[in-house]
Symmetry: C2
Subunit: 237 residues, 2 copies
Amino acid sequence: MRTHTVTAFDSELKSLNGGIEEMGSRTIAQIDGAVDALVNGRVEVAQDVIAGDRALDELQQRVEAAAVEIIAKRQPVASDLREVVTAMRIASDLERIGDLAKNVAKRSIAIGASATTFKVPAGLGSLAERVRAQLAAVLAANRAGNDAEALAVWRADSAIDALHTSLFREMLTYMMEDPRSIGLGTHLLFCAKNLERMGDHATNIAETVHYRLTSEFIASERPKGDLSSDVRPKADG
Amino acid sequence: MRTHTVTAFDSELKSLNGGIEEMGSRTIAQIDGAVDALVNGRVEVAQDVIAGDRALDELQQRVEAAAVEIIAKRQPVASDLREVVTAMRIASDLERIGDLAKNVAKRSIAIGASATTFKVPAGLGSLAERVRAQLAAVLAANRAGNDAEALAVWRADSAIDALHTSLFREMLTYMMEDPRSIGLGTHLLFCAKNLERMGDHATNIAETVHYRLTSEFIASERPKGDLSSDVRPKADG
């Protein structure tokens, strides 16, 4: 049981974790904004997401600087050291998710500008919902120090990948049926890919949390669900 | 002028930089392999690239662990600390470039399997050539401690972005003219995007080298050349 003695290290660690918390909630808000902008064609929301990315970049720099300072000043070892190092890694993954959300927001503006009859496939909304849930779950697992929850997130990534591959095929079919939709369809393919990659970063975070709690790397290969890079083009088949 | 006294810190730093050197040459080899596989349809080269990615991941983990150990043990400050922290950042960017090369290799297999009459646009080769040159140049700038060279790489990224945007439009046009090429074309769009993102990582490294040498962040916004996320679809226009 934890005593009431708060050391300088504890207090610095708490501040470090506060930075991760703030990054986490901002990142989830950025995903929500980007998807709202895409699905509902809301340009002003997209612009907020684009402008809001800088705050995430700055937060990441602050977390990294704080972590380095703690390592140098306190020379932590074992689980204390892992906690500091993993905070840096998680901040890096959250920052990349923010970049991907910003890219979705930019594409939503490009799409919205010329597409009046445009409809985003329902699968894209489901994909976004799952990615968001995975990220929220892995951040909760990190907060609670719950390894089982982190592993559950890790395993569930294959469902996101499968959803992405199926959505990818569906959108390709639309594009083939109506070549006028190719420009739009391409933006949507990249948006879907960005969401799938956010899921990969959530999986990275799950691996990081597992390492933090157990000092072990997940030995097995990542469950493989995303086959969109392997989809054989039918054209010349 | 540097004295001949080699401290433990110097020797550890040298080993850390050796890790970056090894990652750098391996990453460039992975890019070369992936582009060879894509342009010349060489499946066995693609498989080597896919298998070779793990070595890069492991090298990155080793660089990170070594950097953390140096910070804890030596408590470096000022330029010494910056050198250690930036080694970690550069390793992270190189590892991501490796992931992108692996993805290009995977796509080259998917493309090659069904495309007998397939021809990769010449622009894709030029794009790859420039990205590779940027990466080699920024690693040389890091090695030599040459800020001017790092800044030159940073500025030149807009040329890569412009090349990518133009290639993107060209490929979209092909796809619209011949909808049977949509599957193939999509893989090529993602390959081109992966190359452009490798260029972004080279730019990240340029910023990191500048920070290492001057302790300053590059204040101005990144030169904006990649407008592919903003390309307005013509379909419903």
